[in-house]
Symmetry: C3
Subunit: 210 residues, 3 copies
C-alpha cells in the first residue's frame, strides 16, 4: 500500500515538473526537441542530485517508465497547450506540486538509507528545488527561488512538518504524506498571492554592491 502510494507520488511529481518545464520552455520559444529536453532536465534534475548525494543508482537511468512519462507528458503539454491561456499561472501550479511531491520523496529516500532526519530536510529541499533551478538557469530566467516570495522555505517547513508528524502523531503515513505535500503547495500559493516575505531582520548594508 505504501509502495503503491509512493509510486503514485513519484509519477505525479515527474508529471508536474515535466509540465512546468514544458511550459517554461514554450514560453521561451524553444523548438519541440528543446521543450522535451527542458522537461526532462526539470523532472530528473532534483532526483539525480539526490541519488548522487545518497550514492545510490540514479533513478531515471534504470527506469524506462519514468523517461516515458516525462516525454509523453511533455508531448501532451505541447499538443494541448492551447487549452491553457495563462502559462504563468499554470507553470506556477505545476512547479508548486512538483516542489511538494519531490521534497517528500527526497526525505523518504534519505530516511530509507539512515541519513539523519535533519539532514533529510536539507536533502528533500534540494530534491524539490533543484529541478526548477536548473530549468531556470538553462532558460536564462531569474530562478523562482530568488523572487521575493518564499520558495525553499516552503520545503523546509513542509519537510519539518512531515518528520514531526511521522514521529509524533498517530495519523496514518499516507495521510501525513498528502497533508505535507498540500502544505508545501499551500505555502507557495499563499506566499505568491499575498506576497509573504520573511522579514529581513538583518538590516541594511550601505556598501556599494559587488
Amino acid at each position: 500500500m505504501h509502495e503503491q502510494f509512493n509510486f503514485i507520488i513519484e509519477i505525479l511529481g515527474t508529471i508536474s515538473f515535466s509540465m512546468s518545464g514544458s511550459f517554461a520552455a514554450m514560453q521561451k520559444r524553444l523548438d519541440p526537441f528543446g521543450v522535451l529536453i527542458i522537461a526532462f532536465v526539470t523532472s530528473v534534475g532534483g532526483g539525480t542530485v539526490r541519488d548522487l548525494l545518497l550514492d545510490i543508482p540514479v533513478f531515471w537511468m534504470h527506469d524506462l517508465l519514468t523517461c516515458g512519462v516525462i516525454i509523453m507528458t511533455s508531448i501532451f503539454t505541447m499538443i494541448f497547450k492551447s487549452l491553457e491561456k495563462n502559462f504563468k499561472v499554470t507553470l506556477f501550479i505545476f512547479d508548486s506540486f512538483g516542489l511538494g511531491l519531490f521534497t517528500i520523496i527526497g526525505i523518504q529516500k534519505g530516511i530509507n538509507v539512515n541519513i539523519h532526519p535533519l539532514i533529510c530536510i536539507g536533502l528533500g529541499t534540494i530534491t524539490g528545488c533543484f529541478g526548477g533551478i536548473i530549468r531556470d538557469i538553462l532558460l536564462n530566467r531569474i530562478p523562482l527561488i530568488f523572487r521575493k516570495e518564499i520558495y525553499a522555505t516552503a520545503c523546509i517547513v513542509g519537510g519539518s512538518a512531515f518528520l514531526l508528524m511521522t514521529k509524533f502523531s498517530p495519523l496514518s503515513y499516507t495521510f501525513i504524506q498528502i497533508f505535507t505535500i498540500l502544505l508545501i503547495v499551500a505555502i507557495r500559493t499563499f506566499a505568491v498571492k499575498y506576497h509573504w516575505q520573511i522579514p529581513k531582520f538583518y538590516g541594511h548594508d550601505h556598501s556599494s554592491e559587488m
Copy 2:
C-alpha cells in the same frame, strides 16, 4: 581494433572541446590560466556527468594522458591563435566535432553497462552537450543550445541513427561510428548555415512572459 578507434575518438573529442573552450575563453579575454580552466571544464564536463550517472569512476581523475592532452591543446591553441582570424567559426567547428564525438562515446559507455538503448540516447546527448553548456554558463554566454538552430536534436538524431545502424545494418562498427559522428557535425553545420529550425507546432502564448 575497436579499442584503438574508441581511444582515437576520445582523444579527438577531448582535443575538440579543449579547443572550443580555449577559443571561447580567449574571446572573453580571460588570462591564460583562465583559458586553461575553461578548456578543462569544457572537455571533462560531459564525461564527468556521464560517469557520475553511470556510477563508474570519473574518467579524467585516473587518466593523466587525458589531462595532459587538454592542457597541451589549450596551450597550443593560445600560442597559435593568430593563425586563426575568425574565432566564431573555429569555435563552432570544434564544438560540433566535440558534440558528435562525445555523443557516440556516451552512448557506447551506456551500452557497455547494459543501460537501455533509448536511455543511452539521452545519456549520449547529455555527454555531448554538457561540456558546452558549462562553458557557456561560466563565460556568461547564451548557451549554444538555446540559439534558434537545432543543437541537442543533432545528438538525438545522430545517436538514434547510431543505435539503429549497429542493430540492423551490416555495416562495420567503425564505419557506423564515423558516419554518425559526421552526421551530427553535418546536421549542426547545415542547421547554422541554413537556419534550420523545427517548426514550433505548439503555437503562441499571449500571457506576459515570466
Copy 3:
C-alpha cells in the same frame, strides 16, 4: 595531531564559506532562509563535487556537526552583521580563506585515495573554487573567477607549492599546510589590491564576439 589540525582546517573553511555566502546573500536582500540556503550551498558545494569525483561518501550527508556549523555561522553572521560596515571587503576576506583552506583539503583527500598529485592540484582548485562559483551563479553575480584579478591561479600556485614542499622540503606538514593556505590568501589579496593580471600573451581577436 594531523587529524586534529585537518579537522580545524575543515571547520575554518566551512565557517569561511558560510560567512562569505551569508554576506553575498544579504547583499542581494534574500530572506533569512535564503541566506541560510546560500551559506549552505557555498560551504558544501566544493566538497560535494570533490567527493562525487573521488567516489567517496559526500561529507556533509553524514556529518551533523558540519551542517550545524554552517547554520550557526550563518545565523551569527546575520545577527552580528551590523558590526560589519563593508560587506564587499568582508566577503572577499572570507572567500579568500575559504579558497585556501578548501584547496588544501581537496588536495589532501585526493592524495589519500592515491590520485596522481598533478590531478590533485586540479581537484584542490575545483574544491576551492566551486562553492564560490555556485554562490555567484545562484545569486546572479558575475563569478569572482571571471573578474580580471587572478583567482583559480592562486589555488594552482598554492596547491603546487603544497605538493612540492611536502615532497621535497624538511618542513613539518602542519607548517606547510598553514603556509600554503596563507599563500593562497596572500596571492588573492595582492591580486585584488594591486590588480595583478597574467599577461594575455595570446593577443587579440577582431571577429565579432559570439
